[in-house]
């Protein structure tokens, strides 16, 4: 399989999990999307150098992924893919902020705390988003956003994007295969050819998009996707939302790790 094909299959595998059986999959999408949004806000609301108060938040993505039977490896692999971009954002911090941290080991500055904090927040929020997609599917997420009051045009964009990704990927995979078969041993991936490859890909996907649009119109598409069957917000959903909101408030207001630490030390002493 080509590299584009592999990436495509990986994306597909994550989406496919959404239709598997699992207690997280059975929850209404609105509850999951709502809680994930609150989770993101809570994680983002800590001051720049916060590290240890963030740790308890691992519970949410871990629990969601476990309840959806999403293997840790699948989430970790995707986190690694995005890591270089986050490093680019976080790396300057240790060089710019050299204020020593009180009570820390020598050499550990506020900049390093910020660096670790940024990486941790990225790992937390991205893994929560991946667990959400793996247990709900992009279409489910889009439908939930619509039900939660996000404007229809935005929701339609998400739906079209999710479908176009696989369409674009399939087109790129075919072109890549055709090129590899005719590059007689050489990889054929020279930079100068990349331009024409991308140009052709753009034109081809454009034509493809036109045909898809026509097919949508022929079936009465009027610019927004019809709302799918509304799910049921029952007792399980209420418990899920209230339970996690309570936990986030607790994690945000009380520094749980140091509390635990003090308890432990106090108990020993």
């Amino acid at each position: 399989m080509s590299r584009v094909g592999e990436a495509l299959a990986g994306l597909d595998a994550l989406e496919l999990r959404a239709s598997a059986d699992g207690s997280a999959q059975a929850l209404d999408a609105r509850a999951k999307v709502g809680v994930t949004l609150l989770f993101t806000v809570a994680v983002a609301s800590f001051p720049a150098g916060a590290v240890s108060p963030l740790l308890p938040f691992v519970a949410f993505p871990a629990a969601l992924a476990a309840a959806g039977r999403v293997p840790f490896r699948e989430v970790a692999r995707r986190l690694l893919l995005a890591l270089p971009f986050v490093l680019l954002v976080a790396l300057p911090a240790p060089f710019l902020d050299r204020t020593p941290l009180p009570g820390a080991l020598p050499g550990v500055t506020a900049g390093w705390a910020t660096f670790v904090s940024v990486l941790l927040r990225f790992a937390l929020t991205a893994s929560a988003a991946l667990a959400l997609v793996a247990t709900t599917g992009l279409i489910g997420v889009a439908a939930a956003l619509g039900a939660l009051g996000v404007p229809r045009p935005l929701v339609t964009q998400v739906v079209l994007l999710s479908r176009s990704l696989s369409v674009l990927g399939a087109e790129a995979e075919r072109m890549e295969r055709a090129r590899d078969l005719r590059s007689s041993g050489r990889r054929g991936r020279e930079l100068k050819r990349a331009g024409s490859f991308l140009g052709t890909l753009l034109l081809r996907s454009w034509e493809r998009a036109e045909r898809i649009h026509r097919a949508l119109l022929a079936r009465g598409f009027t610019g927004s996707f019809p709302a799918p069957r509304p799910g049921r917000m029952g007792g399980r959903e209420a418990l899920f939302v209230l339970g996690w909101c309570g936990a986030f408030v607790l994690f945000r207001l009380a520094d749980v790790p140091s509390l635990l630490g003090r308890l432990l030390v106090g108990g020993l002493g």
Binding site: E15, S19, R208, I212, L216, R219, G220, R229
Partner: protein, 251 residues
């Protein structure tokens, strides 16, 4: 009047890059007729189908569906009564599951949710694809995709079924199933195809397009024996109408 009537009057269409596609096409198809649209590649078949379904609007002449001319204001009614099945099922299948895709059209028409479920079941049963309901469309085989694509249109309960190259990419069994499905559809049908055997089996009437004009219009069995006409239109006599190469009988 019948909303199953399809008529073209002096249709002309030229693509934005100047390529002429249709140069004055006229015909009239009445309720319940099955018509094959045949012609060499580039004869204008696909363009004609897009015009019939209102996906393109004619630059000259007009298309009538029922008694309405196809215009921007009649498009919603036209789309309700004309079901267009695209050549590439991948262009047509868009949703995460086959069932969602089959439900897409009826939901757009505002059909209530319980009735949508019923329509999805009926449409999938018509094409023998009940087992595919929960599968993601892009993971189906070519034959399964084709049947799913047909179901997405049948669920809208169209009065006129318009198909572009329905047998391309199908294996013999898939093609056989398709012919059975098409024969069972009793409303008006327009089938653009290179597969003259399929035309012979499913359509009583054939319109031969050549260079954007109607070259011939008549009973399929008769036109398919006219070698001079077929040759001129870039086609050839279907095998079932040729003499048997072994014993010399038939035709």
């Amino acid at each position: 009047m019948s909303h199953h009537l399809v008529a073209a009057e002096g249709l002309r269409y030229r693509y934005p890059d100047g390529t002429p596609a249709l140069a004055g096409v006229s015909f009239r198809i009445v309720h319940g007729e099955s018509v094959a649209l045949v012609g060499a590649s580039g004869a204008g078949k696909s363009t004609l189908l897009l015009l019939l379904a209102g996906s393109l609007l004619p630059q000259e002449g007009r298309v009538l569906i029922g008694d309405f001319p196809v215009t921007p204001s009649t498009l919603p009614a036209v789309r309700r009564s004309v079901g267009l099945v695209f050549q590439d099922p991948d262009d047509q299948l868009f949703c995460p599951t086959v069932a969602d895709d089959v439900a897409f059209g009826p939901r757009n028409l505002g059909v209530p949710e319980e009735a949508v479920a019923e329509r999805v079941r009926t449409a999938l049963a018509k094409v023998g694809a009940e087992a595919l309901a929960k599968r993601p469309p892009h993971r189906l085989s070519a034959g399964e995709k084709r049947r799913a694509a047909l179901a997405t249109v049948l669920s809208m309960d169209p009065g006129v079924l318009v198909l572009d190259e329905p047998s391309s990419g199908l294996d013999p069994r898939g093609r056989r199933q398709l012919i059975a499905i098409l024969t069972a559809f009793t409303h008006t049908k327009v089938v653009a195809t290179h597969d003259l055997e399929l035309a012979l089996e499913t359509c009583a009437r054939t319109i031969v397009l050549s260079k954007g004009t109607v070259r011939a219009d008549g009973p399929t069995a008769e036109l398919m024996r006219d070698d001079a006409l077929l040759e001129e239109a870039g086609l050839e006599r279907p095998a079932s109408l040729r003499r048997c190469p072994a014993c010399g009988e038939g035709a």
